[in-house]
Amino acid sequence: MPIINMPEEDKKLISQIKALHNKFLLELNDLEKRRQEILAAQRVDNTQNYTDKNTKLH
């Protein structure tokens, strides 16, 4: 259906659908950040353990 003929209701509906999709992407993005934080914290722990072990050896 050409846009010019698309009823306002449909346009609003598409707008709402796109907004929901966009919200999902943002939420998924947030999850991804949290996942990276878990991995980063783990890397810090590993580094700390490695450092502690080496310190003790000396």
Binding site: M1, K11, S15, I38
Partner: protein, 319 residues
């Protein structure tokens, strides 16, 4: 790995949003985006699995937290998909009963009527010259001969321009080639009462209650499932256009939901009086070359009424 949201926000004007996705209708947009959501969800879950496999030394606490994130992603994806499908009316709506006589419906309207059916509502609007009334018809375009439900029926209710109901003017068959031939033969028979009170088959042309030979302007509403997805405009005195259903909605609200019920009740009553089921049955039987046919009221009319009820329900209650 960061996922960039599209350059779109809820504050964006609907027109701009539509332009970005070309000529798709809400249903198509919803399907496209739900598929995309499924893909992104799947990617996210897959990435978590890979991370876990590649990091066998991860402590239990981290594994639990990663699993929780995956579960959260799954839930968000499901909720979003559900909401999108609900908005686009792609979810199966609960069955609606009309006077307790409708068979329970558990499948989508479109499936029920066949995938290739193009269901439309025709509302020819009549000018003041034609009596301040316009017609409301529901019809399908599938050839009757291919239909398992038998003849297609137009429900044509006449409304005054102020939205008040006038009468069920009549209903017409949308016949297949064979059905048309039979009907023409019938019409030529002297003294034969037409199958329908209306004396012409109204397909792609308008119908005037004053002069039946005269064509009148008509606007076609695409009727996708139970959703009205195009606009009908009615002229108002100062020349502006107004959606017909907006008028009905306004009035329905003023009359505390009674108007919608009245319309349906009057249409059902009018149809029961107008439609000669025996005659439909006979034409259909002959067109099929059958000796007997089991074709009831419910197969012919009630699916139409259900579509109509859903359309009215949606249009009159939409905020």
């Amino acid at each position: 790995m960061e996922m960039k949201p599209e350059k779109f926000n809820s504050q964006e004007k609907p027109e701009e949003a539509v332009e970005k996705i070309g000529e798709k209708n809400p249903g198509e947009v919803a399907l496209t985006l739900t598929k995309e959501i499924e893909k992104k969800e799947s990617d996210f879950l897959g990435q978590t699995e890979t991370i876990i496999k590649q990091n066998p030394d991860l402590p239990k606490e981290s594994l639990v937290r990663l699993s929780e994130l995956s579960e959260e992603a799954h839930q968000i994806a499901n909720a979003t998909k559900k909401e999108i499908l609900r908005l686009a009316e792609l979810e199966t709506p609960p069955p609606i009963k009309l006077g307790g006589t409708l068979p329970k419906k558990e499948i989508l309207e479109k499936k029920e009527w066949g995938q290739e059916i193009e269901t439309e509502i025709y509302i020819p609007f009549l000018t003041e010259i034609l009596g301040d009334v316009f017609d409301f018809a529901v019809k399908t375009s599938e050839e009757v001969d291919k239909s398992r439900n038998g003849p297609k029926v137009d429900i044509i209710a006449r409304f005054k321009k102020d939205g008040s109901h006038l009468a069920i003017q009549g209903a017409s068959l949308e016949l297949g080639e064979e059905g048309r031939k039979i009907l023409n033969e019938k019409k030529e028979e002297k003294g034969e009462r037409p199958v329908w009170e209306m004396k012409k088959i109204c397909k792609d042309s308008g119908y005037s209650p004053i002069n039946q030979g005269e064509q009148v302007p008509k606007i076609v509403l695409n009727f996708d499932h139970q959703v009205l997805c195009d606009a009908q405009y009615d002229w108002v005195r100062d020349g502006r256009k107004r959606r017909w259903f907006d008028y009905l909605k306004d009035r329905n609200e003023k009359e505390e939901n009674k108007y919608k019920i009245d319309i349906l009740e009057q249409m059902i009553e009018g149809l029961e009086e107008t439609i000669d089921l025996e005659r439909i049955r006979e034409i259909y039987r002959k067109s099929k070359g059958l000796k007997k046919i089991n074709l009831g009221w419910s197969e012919v009319i009630e699916p139409k009424l259900e579509i109509l009820k859903r359309a009215l329900e949606k249009c009159l209650t939409k905020k």
